[in-house]
């Protein structure tokens, strides 16, 4: 399967099953419209291809170009075959748990309108995770992580700084137990910044390999949605603290992370605003919300949002060329040393490699399932996992998702987010289609950006 598109003035051709990415001239780009799969190379350019090409190009150019297509095919870089289905059919990952999302606080000091966590409550009332429960979670992941050495712990909420003493106690315990059991714990924290102070920043810098700082963009965009309990905006309070923290981490190993909604379909300005504030690591993602919410993104917004990604893509490379580039999470793709095909087939690992733990110790497939009783998998206090749910997630892969079959982006998103699929279509194997549209556009931009960087 190939996918061809134009972006940043280039003719880009992706060979889906080999992962090859080509920049074609107009002759080849047009010729690829005249050749169909399965491709069989012939000694000379077939007459039907020449006829379909019309008189736009010389016979010499056409013959030369056809020969190059045949060479790429023989090198396994064009029209390569799908050889992954065998892996999917014999899918037996034997997963181990390698990451936990600890819901340190089901409480929040903001009341963001779009919060999937129900403004921190996760539909189960406000509560804090005790250090004891957190320690049980650490015991649980050590016991279920097999031979894997690196274990990731994500402190999440609600707002985890509202229960920061527990964060410290759990971190200390994890390090101590890690040494005993040969495990290297890596910690991440996500915060809205309201309670950040010098002490917390110092602790984060000394202990967290990554920190996610929530902010949506300009003051107007941010404060429309990310409000305090009294209705006032959060922007003025958090920006100086986020800037300080980002600088203190040498502009690495953090993200300022926002959400865009139907209120700011012109979100490129919000991403650029974050870059203008000096942030080098940014992520702004589409809100995922039921269509009856007035901030929800809907199918009629797709064209506008894709045009906005195009706009952002152009400015992104312009700033890169001018030596003032920044990273936008969804425009980052590694064409050479990216994840292996097995990882690309299986996706994020929710429900088998990655689990979320609620303040009560209840275990769910991921942070987005927390509070959904149908998906409660167990509790860290008894240490068991519901095998039915675990294997449902473990079995799920690109080849169990019918909608992914003909999609060029399938090895880049791995079939998308299970929670979004479940919430919109009631089945983790039926991807959330709006998300697919955005993903495809972002991927085209990301590949074009890499091409631009490589070709100069």
């Amino acid at each position: 399967m190939i996918h061809k598109f134009k972006q940043l003035g280039m003719n880009i051709v992706m060979d889906v099953y080999s992962g090859a990415v080509h920049i074609a001239d107009d002759v080849m780009y047009d010729m690829l419209d005249c050749i169909f799969e399965p491709f069989t190379p012939e000694s000379e350019c077939p007459e039907y291809v020449k006829q379909a090409m019309g008189d736009k190009y010389s016979d010499e150019e056409i013959d030369e170009c056809y020969a190059e297509i045949c060479s790429l095919y023989r090198a396994g870089q064009l029209f390569s075959e799908d050889t992954y289905e065998q892996f999917a059919k014999n899918w037996n990952k034997g997963s181990i748990v390698k990451a936990l999302c600890l819901h340190i606080a089901h409480d929040c000091n903001l009341r963001c309108k779009y919060c999937f966590a129900d403004t921190g409550e996760f539909h189960g009332g406000r509560s804090l995770m005790s250090a004891e429960t957190g320690k049980k979670a650490i015991d649980f992941v050590i016991a279920n992580s097999g031979n894997r050495r690196n274990i990731e712990i994500d402190y999440f909420g609600g707002e985890p700084t509202m229960n920061f003493e527990a964060v410290k106690e759990i971190t200390d315990y994890a390090r101590e137990q890690g040494e005993k059991h040969g495990k290297n714990f890596r910690f991440t924290i996500t915060t809205n910044g309201i309670l950040l102070n010098d002490d917390i920043m110092k602790y984060i810098n000394e202990n967290m390999s990554n920190v996610v700082l929530s902010i949506d963009g300009t003051k107007e965009t941010n404060d429309r949605v990310r409000r305090r309990v009294d209705g006032s905006g959060s922007y003025d309070a958090i920006v100086p603290k986020f800037q300080k923290l980002a600088e203190s981490r040498n502009q690495n190993n953090y993200y300022v992370r926002g959400t865009f909604t139907a209120y700011n379909l012109d979100f490129a300005k919000d991403v650029l605003h974050l870059a203008d504030l000096g942030f080098k690591q940014t992520s702004v993602e589409p809100v995922v919300a039921p269509y009856d919410e007035d901030y929800a993104l809907k199918p009629e917004h797709v064209d506008k949002i894709c045009a906005e990604y195009d706009k952002l893509c152009e400015e992104y490379v312009k700033r890169y060329d001018e030596g003032r580039g920044f990273n936008f999470f969804h425009f980052m793709v590694d064409l050479d040393q990216g994840p292996c095909a097995i990882k690309r087939l299986s996706g994020c690992g929710a429900g088998h490699e990655y689990l979320a733990v609620a303040p009560s110790g209840d275990i769910y497939p991921c942070h987005q399932f927390v509070g959904n009783e149908d998906y409660k998998m167990g509790n860290v206090y008894d240490g068991t996992l519901n095998e039915g749910i675990r294997s449902e997630f473990e079995r799920s892969n690109v080849y169990t998702k019918e909608k992914c079959k003909d999609c060029f982006a399938k090895f880049y998103c791995s079939g998308g987010c299970s929670a979004n699929a479940y919430n919109f279509n009631g089945d983790i194997n039926k991807p959330y289609e709006l998300g697919c549209e955005f993903q495809k556009k972002r991927l085209e931009c990301a590949i074009a950006i890499e091409a631009h960087k490589k070709l100069g």
Binding site: Q77, E285, V287
Partner: protein, 48 residues
């Protein structure tokens, strides 16, 4: 090649054979919490 420039080594198929060690991060650990983004992760297996 005159009509095309190939940008990468296209090693996806060989990575299927050698891959699957599982040492990479889970995808939601970095910045996304509402979408599945896999291809921007680094492989943590030196053999691939």
């Amino acid at each position: 090649m005159k009509h095309v420039t190939t940008l990468n080594s296209a090693n996806l198929k060989s990575s299927a054979v050698h891959g699957g060690c599982g040492e990479c991060q889970t995808s939601c650990q970095s910045a996304c919490k509402t979408s599945c983004t896999v291809a921007n992760q680094k492989c943590e297996n030196a053999q691939n």
